[in-house]
């Protein structure tokens, strides 16, 4: 009965479902993009093996962070700091790749270990103007070991190709810290430092106290502290909120019209002994069902959109699609259905049987 009641006015129901689908599709896309960004940040910092990431205090983005190597050496002496790995990071346009991620690392420090060499060799301490290319970059630039690539306005010889499992890094390259510093004109400075420690919270507090220009945080928390990630998350939350309001209004409008059109019918049902609760239940079921159908289509739309974004994005993005997103979409749909159906259901239940029967 629920489905049949919903599709009495096919066009209206289809339009409402389409509206909900677009809303939920938008929500799903934003969530997945936001999640992909967070996931990428997490991969960058947490999965590199560091327990703490140290960067310049009050920086909105780690790419902009610059910390003194002398302070880094001072930090090495703090109790609890077991190992450190310095990183110089920059984004360059290389060939047709507008977002070529370049990392300057110290061979022998733990950060470089995640870059698994799949052809050629790794970097050596005394290498100069040598670079490792990520697997995706190698494919996109159609370059491999022995070729020369222009980075920072200089020519670098490709000595190895690596795979890190992170699209941003695999779409870039790794050189020595000294090469990166020279090319960027940032001698004596690094972007951030990864720290291995047995007690991250205690060690982070010590670092923050001893070196006030540093921000030391658990590597797992870095992504949530990034301003651009926070901004995207705030925008996403706002849009989700607006989508819920609009979606709820769309459902409510459809259900109110449906209840008005069926006033007489509801009067008959009440005359036949249907209590207010049964009438409310009928309307709420229709409302929730309408939203759930919208959610299914919305999820498909969201999935299709992120796949499209993935193809056209100049920045390599990995979207962690999991069933939790589908469950989230269904939960939003349920909420929309409940919110949107509440007033019409209440209105239907309050109809006096005799007045409803007289309704023309």
């Amino acid at each position: 009965m629920t489905l049949r009641n919903l599709f009495r006015r096919k066009t209206r129901s289809i339009l409402t479902i389409a509206g909900i689908a677009v809303g939920i599709g938008l929500v799903m896309t934003l969530l997945m993009v936001s999640s992909a960004l967070m996931s990428t940040y997490q991969g960058m910092f947490e999965k590199g093996g560091s327990d703490i990431t140290v960067y310049q205090k009050n920086t909105s983005d780690l790419i902009l962070s610059q910390i003194d190597e002398d302070d880094v050496e001072a930090m090495r002496k703090i109790e609890g700091v077991d190992k450190i790995a310095s990183v110089v990071a920059a984004i360059e346009k290389v060939g047709d790749m507008p977002y070529f991620f370049v990392l300057g690392l110290n061979p022998g420090e733990f950060e470089i270990e995640r870059y698994k060499i799949i052809s050629g060799r790794g970097l050596a301490r005394n290498d100069s103007r040598k670079i490792l290319l990520g697997k995706s970059a190698s494919e996109d630039l159609k370059m491999s070991v022995g070729d020369k690539v222009q980075v920072f306005g200089n020519e670098y010889e490709i000595v190895g190709v690596y795979e890190s499992g992170l699209p941003w890094f695999d779409g870039g390259g790794v050189t020595t810290i000294q090469d990166a510093q020279r090319a960027l004109g940032t001698e004596g400075k690094v972007s951030w430092v990864g720290v291995k420690t047995r007690d991250p919270d205690v060690t982070a507090k010590k670092i923050n106290r001893r070196i006030p220009s540093f921000e030391a945080v658990r590597s797992s928390d870095v992504s949530s502290k990034q301003t651009d990630a926070q901004m995207l998350s705030s925008i996403a939350n706002f849009i989700i909120f607006v989508a819920l309001i609009v979606g709820g209004i769309a459902v409510m409008n459809t259900m109110v019209m449906s209840v008005v059109e069926r006033t007489r019918e509801i009067g008959v049902l009440r005359a036949l002994g249907w209590g207010k609760g049964r009438v409310v239940s009928m309307i709420m079921k229709e409302s929730v069902f309408l939203s759930l159908i919208g959610a299914v289509f919305g999820s498909l739309l969201g999935y299709g959109t992120v796949r499209f974004v993935q193809v056209v994005s100049p920045v390599p993005l990995v979207f962690p699609f999991s069933f939790s997103f589908l469950i989230y979409a269904l939960t939003i749909a349920l909420t929309l259905g409940l919110i949107g159906g509440l007033y019409p259901a209440y209105r239907a239940s309050q109809l006096s049987p005799i007045e409803a029967l007289r309704y023309e």
Partner: protein, 230 residues
Amino acid sequence: MEEDMIVETRNLVKVYKMDSIEVRALNGVNLHVHKGEFVSIMGPSGSGKSTLLHLVGGLDRPTEGEVIIDGEDIFHEKMNLDDFRNRKIGFIFQLHNLIPTLTALENVEIPAFKMPRNERRKKAEEMLSLVGLGDRMHHKPTQLSGGQRQRVAIARALMNDPSIILADEPTGELDSKSGAEIIELLLSLNRDYGKTFVMVTHNPENAAKTDRIIYLRDGLFERDEHLKRG
């Protein structure tokens, strides 16, 4: 109240307020219907016929007075009117009021929501066969004639074995042939199955076939004619 009295109203008054004007639809009506009777209620427009039916059926509340159905004071404060209507009353409206998206069978099942599914389906099939629509169970109302739709409504009214069946101008929207068939059906249900009917009608020919005709005027009984042995 007599043992076989199934409907009793005591000094029933209904006043409608329309802006500042009061309309007294019923002025103190005392109705008595015995089990198995087929009572017609006639009167000019505005005499209070439908109002009386609606109060007896618990669709509306009186301004004053009582309605006792099968020994139950239906407007007692603890009475659940929805439940009362479901158990005790079968309604047949002038317009069939079937749900257009449901089949005849599904429409008939509507009142029996407390019955187990299989039992409900079986009973609905029996009721439809009883009214002569055994071969039209899976048709939607748009696929049925006016007379057939009213038969479905009658089957629906019978579903919960109600104490009384209230029919408000059941042939009002039908042509004379279909109307005559419907009246014959109602009379046969009364005669062969002992169902108690209270019918509002404008048609004197139909009323003449019943046991009693009560004439209402200005919210009061004008006369009460017994046509058959009660």
